[in-house]
């Protein structure tokens, strides 16, 4: 895009790069904010249906689809309160810390073959590392509120997140091992083709470890039945007891952003990424790598695929939330240390042995030959976010 702006529109170098960065940032921001708007409405509807009621029905017409917007206006108009004993600076900053962590992880998340803010060769690792930082906002909020409820919630969250990072990391290692790369684009690319190429169906061990991943992901984004940090039946509202108005809503945007993120990560690692269950595009003879209009539409299709899978993941999380009762803190810890971690470790070993014993899979004919797998970027100006060419806008400190 930057090359397009420089060469075709004729913008100066620095402006073109700034505009490119701004567009990418705005797109990611809108995925989070727009997603939260839809998901909050969906959560209300799903909660209603599961509890045998209708949920919002009136705001905005037939299905109450303007409910989130009405909520937003209400939150904007609310008074911004801060307790007397609070640590003012940290209290004000905490929601932004949470939100920034969630936002940063989206930078390395590919939405389709070429649609990624910044492709990294350690994408998975980066996303997991940044996702773990979201808890900072929660702890700061809990501490700065000068309230016992908040502090309890924050400490629970800290204990939970630190514990669940261990099995989560182990689950993520398995697809990384199978793909031989930490690059999210490469991992998804290797699952191209029919449904059977997804790592979920690679072998029985990956199938099991996917469910361990789901458990850990729900716990690491602090959703019910693992939402000990805000257990409203014991801690009023946990870490955000003292928050109101827009600051409070930032925590929720961060939460929905993270839910979407871990779902998208699950889709990329286990469910084929942007490759649908049926390779429609390649059956039609189209390829996303060609860089022309057809390739662009294939990539758009891939993006719809990934967004659909991630949305499905979020909806399943909602379903779980309104179905299962909240665990006690000791049960949360037991789930992590006694079940998730050993199962993940055993499955990791199993997947490794499977790979050694049956490198071609049970039915080798179903697998895509390795030579066909395409890696790397489009060489030309095809991609919207293609890497800059060697000489454009690339500068360095030069010591003669």
């Amino acid at each position: 895009m930057a090359e397009f702006l420089i060469n075709t529109v004729g913008l100066p170098d620095w402006l073109a790069w700034t505009v490119t960065a701004m567009v990418a940032a705005a797109l990611i921001l809108n995925v989070i904010a727009g997603g939260a708007l839809v998901f909050i409405w969906a959560e209300r509807k799903i909660a209603g249906r599961i509890q045998d009621r209708l949920g919002p029905t009136r705001t905005g017409g037939k299905f109450g689809w303007l409910q989130s917007l009405a909520d937003g206006i209400k939150l904007l108009a609310k008074e911004d309160l801060m307790p007397d004993g609070a640590d003012g600076m940290l209290f004000r900053l905490a929601p932004y810390v949470s939100f920034c962590a969630s936002f940063c992880a989206f930078i390395a998340l590919p939405f389709a073959f070429d649609f990624v803010g910044q492709r990294m060769n350690v994408g998975v690792f980066f996303v997991i590392a940044v996702l773990g930082l979201e808890v900072f906002g929660v702890i700061l909020a809990g501490y700065a509120s000068a309230s016992k409820w908040s502090l309890f919630g924050a400490m629970r969250e800290a204990a939970q997140v630190v514990s669940y990072e261990v099995p989560l990391g182990m689950c993520v290692v398995v697809p990384v091992m199978l793909a031989g790369s930490m690059d999210l684009v490469t991992i998804a690319e290797k699952q191209a083709g029919w449904l059977t190429n997804w790592y979920l169906f690679h072998d029985p061990f990956t199938f099991v470890i996917f469910w361990v991943y789901v458990t850990c992901a729900v716990a690491s984004v602090n959703r019910a039945p693992f939402d000990l940090a805000e257990a409203e039946s014991e801690l009023v509202a946990g870490f955000h007891t003292e928050y109101s108005g827009l600051r409070w809503s930032y925590f929720f945007m961060a939460e929905y952003g993270s839910m979407f993120l871990v779902s998208a990560l699950a889709a990329l690692l286990f469910l084929g990424g942007w490759n649908g269950p049926v390779p429609v595009a390649s059956l039609l003879g189209l390829s996303e790598g060609t860089g022309d209009t057809a390739g662009y539409f294939v990539r758009l299709l891939g993006m719809a695929n990934l967004l659909g899978k991630a949305t499905l993941g979020v909806l399943i999380m909602m379903w779980i939330r309104w179905t299962l009762p909240r665990l006690r803190i000791d049960q949360v810890m037991m789930t992590c240390l006694k079940y998730c971690t050993p199962i993940a470790a055993a499955m990791f070993l199993g997947a490794m042995l499977w790979q050694v014993a049956l490198p071609g899979g049970l039915v080798p004919a179903l697998r895509r030959p390795a030579g066909e797998i395409r890696e790397g970027w489009l060489p030309g100006p095809g991609g919207a976010f293609a890497l800059p060419s060697a000489d454009a806008g690339k500068v360095a400190k030069v010591n003669p």
Binding site: D13, L93, Q118, M120, F126, I139, Y143, A158, K397
Partner: protein, 245 residues
């Protein structure tokens, strides 16, 4: 978006730039460096432990940004995972300690501040001198840093430079690598650790603790005997046997 260049190597494969072009790499380098240094000073200046930990997170995060800028993405992600994530635990301890009123603010006396300032400035002077006495970088041969990785950074620490694989030129008496500043920082860290252990050492207690009572008991002759003693204690409900069984 600047990916293929190693900042620390300071090498440009680009054609000579127009004068008006902004050197984005330098801009971002200065930005991240300013954030890192500014918040590092803020850590020292702050009085509240939790705020200190928060500033430390920002400082370490900016350092991770510097690594990403250098194209060493793995090191950057590691920095985020280990250092920033590790500060999380520090933060938790800070919260636990300062939940009580007397420890909320940590304030040194004026004399301490002067002394600390003197030592700090002296150390900084030594570090700056040793860092700037390193041989300047020059453009590497083409293809030298085609694969941006952590290796050039690590190798330059011990004196093997990507821009000069043959080793240091004997004509200049400048050092080839960053070994000396690296070692100074390491020793400094060791001193800090020893000091922290000294400050946090357990004060002598008037009453012996349970573990000391147990240690003063005649040691068992064998493991089996030890186990039987353990079972006996368990039955008699000793402190050592643990409450749950």
């Amino acid at each position: 978006m600047i990916s293929a260049l190693s900042m620390i190597a300071g090498i440009s494969t680009a054609a000579p730039l127009p004068v008006a072009a902004i050197n984005w790499h330098s801009v971002f380098f200065l930005l991240f460096a300013a954030i890192a240094c500014g918040f590092a000073v803020a850590v020292v200046a702050a009085e509240n432990v939790v705020r200190m930990a928060f500033y430390l997170v920002l400082s370490l995060g900016a350092t991770a940004g510097l690594f990403f800028l250098a194209g060493a993405e793995f090191v950057g992600a590691m920095q985020l995972m280990i250092y920033v994530g590790g500060t999380l635990v520090l933060l938790v301890f800070g919260v636990m300690l300062t939940a009580q009123a007397p420890l909320v603010a940590i304030k040194g006396s004026g004399r301490d501040r002067v002394l600390a300032g003197f030592v700090g400035v002296a150390l900084l002077a030594v570090l700056l001198q040793s860092a700037f006495s390193v041989k300047p970088w020059r453009a590497a041969a083409a293809g030298m840093v085609a694969e941006p990785a952590a290796t050039p950074i690590g190798m330059s620490l011990v004196g093997v430079r990507v821009d000069d694989p043959a080793g240091g030129a004997p004509a200049t008496n400048k050092r080839p690598g960053y070994m000396l500043p690296f070692e100074i920082v390491s020793i400094h860290l060791l001193v800090v650790l020893v000091g922290a252990a000294y400050l946090a050492r357990a004060k002598r207690r008037k009453t012996p603790r349970a573990i000391e009572v147990a240690a003063s008991v005649e040691p068992p002759a064998s493991v089996a005997e030890h186990a039987s003693i353990g079972r006996e204690r368990q039955r008699s409900g000793s402190v050592l046997a643990g409450g749950r069984s």
